[in-house]
Subunit: 272 residues, 2 copies
């Protein structure tokens, strides 16, 4: 049955559906937790983020302030940052009413958006490259942003080479679009989410894994996902191996959330 959802609700539903989908290599899912981040943390974030999504839908709020609000609302539990990357995608998608609007909206961001974003960033444990001159842990960063007049869009362009989520702001949300297309191709329901996840993981090296474990590990994970697609590797044991090694493709998960959000708006059915 079709649901007349608000954009905010659709985004919440995307967060809920992504975390429940199982088996999802390496990430928290219906059957797997990490010690410090559990299914309930992800679902609590999906519930508690709503005011920020409502504000994004209303319009009139800066994207940086909205990402800051979403991060703040969902940093109240002990599960740490669950969805920072997802907010970077969902907030412009909600505010812009879709990929075209989001692509336009990110171009309008300001220096204030960049400063708000860094305030949000400092609430999370997201890693940047240790050599990054715009390190969130360095108070001098804010001066650099102000001195150079960098907008949030500039920050994302700066991060794009090493961060596939930031890259979405620079390329018209290309992988969010691709994630939505993979969902449409895979059919309706929860199994389509798993299929889209593995297909995206098999074709793109997850930059979150690169930051945490290095390029070699991330490339191996991509190859292993391709082996699952080829039928030469078992998905459940791939999942177990990733979890045992603490390898979680967090940026692919963010992309899938964005893809579910976009696909739901195009009639993709989660409930079949």
């Amino acid at each position: 049955m079709k649901i007349a959802m608000t954009r905010a609700e659709r985004a919440q539903l995307a967060m809920m559906l992504e975390v429940c989908a199982y088996p999802k290599p390496g990430n928290v899912d219906r059957c797997h937790d990490y010690d410090d981040t559990r299914l309930e943390h992800f679902l609590a974030s999906a519930l508690l983020v709503r005011p920020a999504f409502n504000h994004a839908e209303e319009g009139g709020h800066g994207l940086g302030a909205l990402i800051r609000e979403a991060t703040s609302l969902t940093s109240t539990h002990g599960g740490g940052n669950t969805h920072f990357g997802a907010y970077i995608l969902l907030i412009p998608l909600i505010a812009g009413g879709g990929i075209d609007g989001a692509t336009a909206a990110v171009k309008e961001t300001t220096v204030d958006d960049a400063l708000d974003f860094y305030a949000a960033f400092s609430m999370t444990q997201v890693r940047m490259h240790r050599t990054d001159e715009l390190d969130v842990n360095d108070p001098a960063t804010l001066h650099v942003i102000r001195d150079r007049g960098m907008t949030l869009s500039d920050i994302m362009a700066h991060s794009a080479p090493g961060d596939m989520v930031a890259r979405e702001w620079t390329n018209g949300f290309a992988l969010s679009r691709r994630a939505a297309d993979l969902l449409h191709e895979a059919g309706c329901g929860r199994h389509a989410i798993v299929e889209a996840f593995v297909r995206l993981l098999a074709s793109e090296t997850d930059t979150f894994i690169i930051k945490k474990h290095g390029t070699e590990v991330a490339e191996r994970v991509r190859e292993q996902a391709a082996e699952v697609l080829a039928g030469t590797r078992n998905l459940e044991s791939f999942d177990s191996d990733c979890i045992a090694a603490g390898i979680n493709p967090g940026s692919i998960a963010d992309m899938i959330i964005a893809g579910i959000y976009v696909a739901l708006g195009e009639g993709w059915e989660w409930d079949c």
Copy 2:
């Protein structure tokens, strides 16, 4: 960490935490679905119900209209009625700001509340006794309500002997209170929810099971829960047996949701 939640958010969190808790004999949980009602349906309801809970928190809306709104908002997916009983408890608890306020609020209900409630009821597949003169499937029921001037509180008193959820409206939310107490006794976190669930199931015969399978089956489930507490029955196999037989203690689940809501407001911690 303490969360400054609204009452509406606390109620949504209660719905989310209850359905995720595992293992929960016979009910949908993190690891079990029924064919037609799955984890995602319960979680979608927890997301989509929010406007009704917000209205309950704002005040100025009738309890019957609020239950009708909650049911309507969450009847849009294919999972059927997931939380009708929970709304009967949560709506007055939110509107009244706790058990005392809820006990007072239900006494103020009107004939219009009763009519709204029956409109909500007709959206669900909840069973009444076949011999019930206030059968929701019988259009004459609405005339009976109007002719006799029955309020929603009267309806609940009428249903109380055979329905433990309706009974809460007549006895100061006694089992909701007890569920909250059991949570406090069991300590923090998800395991406390399972413990409170089994303890309540071992001490009260679930009227939802009675309606579906008869008193004998319901009484046997109660005894089996007591055996789990005594250590003479395995919880996981009890769970599997219930699921295989389609025996789900839905009213105990409603009570646990109400108990989580109350306990969270008293400082019980879900996240530890």
